[in-house]
Amino acid sequence: MAEEQKSHLKITRHQGVCIAEFEDRKILEELSISEIGELLSQIVDSEPDLKLVLSFRNVEHLSSAALGMLINLRSEVREKDGQLKLSNIRPQIYEVFKITKLNKLFEIHDTAAQAMQAFAQPQE
């Protein structure tokens, strides 16, 4: 399993899937959100057909600006014919997704392993 460390993110690659885990407990500040968005955009740009899992294992707080960044990322991934799945979202944060109905826009799995397995399933 290849591992690389970028600011705000721990990137792991396993069986053709890129797993990006947020390192920050809080994804609130505009500056760090913008940096995270740029890092993820670089990965999306450099890898067509990317299979990407975003793990929220460490995330305890999330702002609407972070949701905006995720929505933009989803669009970028789709434009490049990639796939994006989210995982490890704790209940307090999942509530934010539910309130904004983004739980219906994003594919969310309990764990990164489950998200990886889902890539192996045939697309509906």
Binding site: S63, G68, I71, V96, T100, K101
Partner: protein, 130 residues
Amino acid sequence: MTFVIKNTLSAAKEPERAILQLVRQYGYSNDSCFAIRLALEEALTNAIKHGNRGDPDKQLTIRVFIGPEEAIIYVADEGAGFEPCSVPDCTTPQRISLPDGRGIMLMKAYLDEVTYSERGNEVRLLKRNN
């Protein structure tokens, strides 16, 4: 407690820290602290970016009334104000894929009361300690 700060996200950190420290001292639950932090972040960001339009020469006034039963926070900017009812529903199929417009919705979902001054340049946030 009143804070008058520069219209920057970095200047907003100090009142945010002080408010969260106070609600924790009063024994507000983790869920209440989460709600206050989230709403405060959204209110401050809205005031700085939209209310004062990012103008560094403008200021924010934050008035804080925190007791054991409820926390009330006013965030006022120096902008022209807005009509809260005019903000579109971001959960409709037409708007759900747009990146903006969720701040007020989150504040309302997490707090007991979110109200605006007549001009729309001051928001009042109320969270009960339950």
